[in-house]
Symmetry: C2
Subunit: 193 residues, 2 copies
Amino acid sequence: MTELLQKNIADHVVLSTTETEEFCNLFEQRFIKKKSFLLREGEVCKFEGFVVKGLFRVYHIDKNGFEQILYFAIENWWITDIDSFTTETPSQLYIEALEDSEVLLISKKDKEFAYSNLPRIEKLFRVMTQKTHVALQRRMIDNLSKTAELRYIEFSEKYPQLFQRLSNIQIAAYLGITNVFLSNIRKKIASKK
Amino acid sequence: MTELLQKNIADHVVLSTTETEEFCNLFEQRFIKKKSFLLREGEVCKFEGFVVKGLFRVYHIDKNGFEQILYFAIENWWITDIDSFTTETPSQLYIEALEDSEVLLISKKDKEFAYSNLPRIEKLFRVMTQKTHVALQRRMIDNLSKTAELRYIEFSEKYPQLFQRLSNIQIAAYLGITNVFLSNIRKKIASKK
DNA sequence: GAATTTTATTAAACTAGTTTAATGTATTGA
DNA sequence: TCAATACATTAAACTAGTTTAATAAAATTC
C-alpha cells in the first residue's frame, strides 16, 4: 500500500527500513471521487497528503470569482495547504480531485510525532519544501518574463503526462489566462505547423 | 555583532544559548558596497546570508535583457539562491546591493556541519523555508489575479519601509511591469486623491 | 438514450500593459 | 563643480490578453 510513498521518500533522504516503516504507518489511506474536495476555503487543513493515484488541483478563487491554480498533483506528488496546515488558520484554497483518486494522509499530530521521534523526517520535509520552493521561484520568473504562448508550450513539454489529462480550462487557469485566449494560442500554434 | 541574527533565530525556533552561539559563530561578517554583487549569474552560490544592514535585490535577466526581481532583502531578511546553493549548480540569479550593506554569511560546509551537530538548525531552516514558500505562493496568486495598480498599492502598504527606499524602476521590475506603465499608474492614483 | 451540463472554438469590441522616443530633473562621480 | 549617468514623466502607436456572446461538439447524468 505504501510502496510508492516509500520510494518517494528514498528519493529525498536516506532512512533505515524501520524508520521508513514507522513513518509510513502514520499515514491513512483515502479514496477521493472525481469532483470531490480534500479541502475547501475556510477549513483548516489538517493533513499533508501523498497522491498514490489520480489527479488533484489546488486553487484559489479571487473576489471576482476567477480561479487561479497554484499547482496540480498527480501520482507521486504531495499536496497540502502548507500555510493553513502549519499555522492552523482557515485555508484560502480548494483542493479538488479531477479524477477518481487515492491518497495517503498524515495528520498534524502524527507529523509532529515524526518530527520529534524520527529526526531524519525533519530533513525530509526541509528538502522537499526547498525543492517545491525552487520550482515555484522558476514559475514566478516565467510568469513575469514569458508570454502566455511560450508558457503554454513549455508546460506541455515539461509535464506531458499531466498535460494530456487536463482540460484547456484547467491549463488556462494554471497559466493565468482565459480559456478563450488559450484557444487563440492553440489556433495560432496549429497554423504554424 | 550577531545580536540581530540571534533575535531572528529566536523568532523561528527555540534554541539554547550555547546552540545559538555555536551556530552564530559559523557566520562571517561582510560589507558590500552599493552596486556591488554578492552573486552573479553563472557562479555557484556558496553562501546563505543574513542582512544586518542595507538593501539587496535578487533578480534574473531574461533572454531579452529584462530584469525580473524575485525579492528584496533588507535588515533582518535572509538571502541566497537556494537552488544554486543546494544543488551546487551555476546560478541564474544576481544578488546586488542597492545600498551600502552588511551581511553575515554561512558557507555550505558550515551549514552542513550545523545540520549534523545542531539538530534544531534543521528545524530552523525547514520552518524558514516554509514561511518563504507561503509568501511566494501568495505573491503568485496576486500576480495571477490582481491588476498592476492593485499590486502596486498593496506592495506600498505591505512593505512601507522597503517601498520608500526603492526607485520606481526597482518597484516596476518587482511588480512585473515597465517603469513607463508604473508612471501611468502613479499619475492615475495621484489624480484620484 | 434523451436531456443537461461542460468544453472548445470563433468573432468582435475592448483594456491593460508595452514600446519607442523625447524631455527635464536628480544623482553621482572624477 | 561640471559632465555624465540614472531616473521619472509624457505622448502616441501598438500588442497581448479580456470580455461577452453565440455555436457546436463532447461528456455526463438520470
